[in-house]
Amino acid sequence: MIVFIDDKKINTKGGTILEIAKKNKIDIPALCNHSDLKPGSSCRVCIVEVNKKLVPACSTQVCPGMKIITDSPKIRKVRKINLELLFSQHREECSDCVWNGECSLLELAEKYKVKINRFDDRKKDYPVYQFGNVIQFDSSKCIDCRNCVEVCHQQGVDFLEVKEKGSLFQVVPSKTKDCIYCGQCLIHCPAGAFEAVGEFEDIEKPLKQKNKVVVFQFAPALRSSIGEEFGMSYGSLVTGKIVAGLKKLGVDKIFDTCVGADFTTSSEALEVVERIKKNKNLPVLTSCCPSWVKFLEQRYPKLIPNISTTRSPQVILGSLIKTYWAKENNIDPKNIYSVSIMPCIAKKFEIIRPENNVFGLQPVDCVLTTREFARLLMKHKIDLKKLKSAKMDNMFSDPSGAGVIYGATGGVMESAFRTAYEKLTNTKLKNVEFKQVRGMQGVKEAEVKVCNKVRKIAVINGLGLAKEFLNTKKLKDYTCIEVMACPGGCIGGGGQPVPTDAEIREKRALTLYAVDKKKKIRKAHENPIVKKIYKEYLTDKLAHEVLHTSYSKKGRGSVKKL
């Protein structure tokens, strides 16, 4: 059909005014709209004119011949007033905000000459809530768009709710349900009302560890996303630049979490093989995603025996650092301060799970998110974009391709499959690429013929879909199920740069697959360091301590008002 936007003739198959304007590079300011969510149409800033009536562009579908005006004195006026009203409920705290530099509110304020203090802040006395040791929600910044409530619902969690207090509705944490710390609220909040605990007050902590050996590891997803914080294009690969940045900060013990992932894969594949042989505790449920694990422990304790007991990549690498690496380098593990940079905020919770301790020590002492690490570099005036790539040179610096794709949905399954297939069949895989489980679809299912038996596997991209899957499917039919709580997997995690949306996630993921494709070694169990440590170090007892963890039925985490 043909529509006209500001007299520009546009041929389109349909969609909302906002979508079509975007595709045609026509600017309509949109604040609460996020492509992951159904239009809530609440902020009323994307107002345009159709047939002399003002309508929101985000939720108005075009029809043939529609004439849309995106700018006029009246349109500008109502946008300005609505922005002033939005500012009247948003306490500004810009220097410490996850949107710093990318804030749509401020950008629009400037464009529409908004008096941001035209009305006094009605929420100045609203509380800050803290969920566990992971998320802070400063309700005095909330602009009531309810994206957080919507995405929390989409995640199947329903922890954030709208409750009427006095005569006004507020977003509040549930009194009965629990947060799983995925951080999708943070990613989808246009007002910066959510942040990780410590973001950004505590980012210098790792550099202030006097008398300790400070080691850093960084996750697969980081290498295709952190460039965005420095103005690089989506999906830019910056592995070497991350290393160079860390070196500039004075860190010289730099490890790649992807190597941890190779250990996770090897161990998890063995678990799969063993459970298939014993036909016990199938399907195996992946355990790399701490939000998913927390969700199961609280809401589906019956499935605890099915969760893989293998530690997640950051925890496994942290454990190896404080055992094998410490021993090899004659360092007292108590003197190691182990830091990991993660695309995830739930990883802050994962490291304090006592079940993850190794010989009584936390395997990782501090987690920085992608955003936090970027801010740390900026504070030290290090521009990642301008850095020359540097190399890591130690035992945990060279991952297989399988370890790298861990950052994307389906990556864990594909990696585990490459290894488990070979272990089960005693043959070499000719084609290691397992494309059925790649991509951004919600639920990916595949059938694999292993030793004359067809086995069903499923990869679930997003926790809400996982909940639906658990409630509706016959789990017994499956051998292995991968779940990542965040859409797109870790590359869409709660610790990642904002904005994050479907298009951006896809670019970040493709970069990881490109890295894998170029690698000579693409199977975790063929990584020399994995082979070496399994052979030389990991006796049964040690393997249990270093590679495995345990789970149990859990109650709610803490929710407090600060």
Binding site: K38, S41, R44, V45, I47, N82, L85, S88, V162
Partner: protein, 321 residues
């Protein structure tokens, strides 16, 4: 009898306050395929208005007749009578008797004033969060359980009941209240002006007065010289003695809207909050008020916000000046 052409002939407009042509809704739902739902909305929530209650009390059989007509007209359809709590307690047993053997469920309303908004009713019947859905799709396209859904007010079904029996006399129900003696609900010709209604019911004041016409919260303020027009909205007329404190009156409205709106869209949530605060200070800043009225009227998500500005604007303009 072809009910649709009758609805067109009488140009019946919905009696919920929106005055939407009933025949248009019926036609859209009829053309849709698959399961259809019919909802009789008796959630009357605007202050000072109780004409649906009056109808349920006096003519429940006519309302049920209207719903029966709809059930017959739309194949593969089921109906609900959606009653606000007080009406549910009073009328549900009687309605159950009248609807025995019919595919009509009697349901108690959830939530407050906004619980009567048509998409919120769908949310409530689906056991979902009580907040309005973004339109389109309109309920006639995709309403309850994503099926085409006809939602008409109790009085609209009363009219349909009358039409189907050939007894419709182009009347409507007016609630008349305020500083008058003869308060109540009156069935009078729909073409009557406010003045005619007040005179006919013996309520035309002999003191200085103004009226709020249309609804006890959303109605517009009219001066005695402006009464030669029909009543808008839900057909409610409130008469005020000129000595009425306009600030106290506006505060009543702002408190009502503040309590009953859903706080979803910016202009209604924040705009009404600011009007309410301004009334406390008793200092009316005309520029700010005009800005707030503009965004309420032009950019609100639902009719509540889009109409909430009207009583304030007309009272300030005509009474406070």
């Amino acid at each position: 009898m072809n009910i649709l052409s009758e609805l067109k002939k009488y140009q019946l407009l919905g009696r919920s306050g929106s005055c939407f042509p009933t025949a248009v809704k019926w036609e859209i739902v009829r053309k849709a395929k698959g399961k259809k739902y019919i909802i009789c909305n008796c959630s009357e929530g605007e202050p000072k208005n109780y004409k649906d209650k009056y109808i349920l009390e006096n003519y429940p059989e006519v309302v049920v007749e209207g719903i029966k007509t709809a059930l017959k007209f739309f194949n593969n359809s089921s109906a609900f009578i959606y009653l606000k709590k007080e009406y549910y307690n009073q009328f549900s047993s009687k309605l159950r008797k009248l609807t025995k053997g019919l595919d009509i469920k009697i349901v108690k309303k959830k939530g407050g004033y906004l619980g009567g908004e048509e998409t919120v009713i769908c949310q409530a019947l689906e056991d979902k969060r009580l907040e309005p859905r973004v339109k389109p799709p309109y309920p006639v396209q995709s309403g309850l359980f994503e099926c085409p859904t006809l939602i008409n007010n109790a009085e609209t079904f009363y009219c349909i009941g009358r039409i189907s029996k050939g007894e419709y006399k182009k009347t409507r129900f007016y609630t008349i209240t305020g500083d008058i003696k003869n308060k109540g609900v009156f069935e009078l010709p729909e073409k009557y002006t406010v003045k005619q209604i007040l005179k006919k019911t013996n309520n035309y004041p002999d003191f200085d007065f103004f009226v709020q016409s249309g609804g006890g919260a959303m109605g517009e303020i009219l001066l005695p010289k402006e009464l030669n027009k029909k009543v808008q909205g839900i057909g409610c007329i409130v008469v005020f003695n000129s000595k009425t404190d306009p600030f106290a009156l506006m505060k009543q409205w702002s408190q009502f809207f503040l309590a009953e709106n859903c706080d979803k869209c910016t202009p209604c949530r924040e705009g009404i909050y600011r009007i309410d605060k301004m009334l406390d200070s008793k200092k009316l800043d005309k520029q700010t008020l005009n800005d707030l009225f503009l965004v309420l009227k032009e950019t609100s998500l639902c009719p509540l916000g889009a109409n909430a500005y009207r009583p304030f604007e007309t009272l300030i303009k005509k009474i406070i000046k």
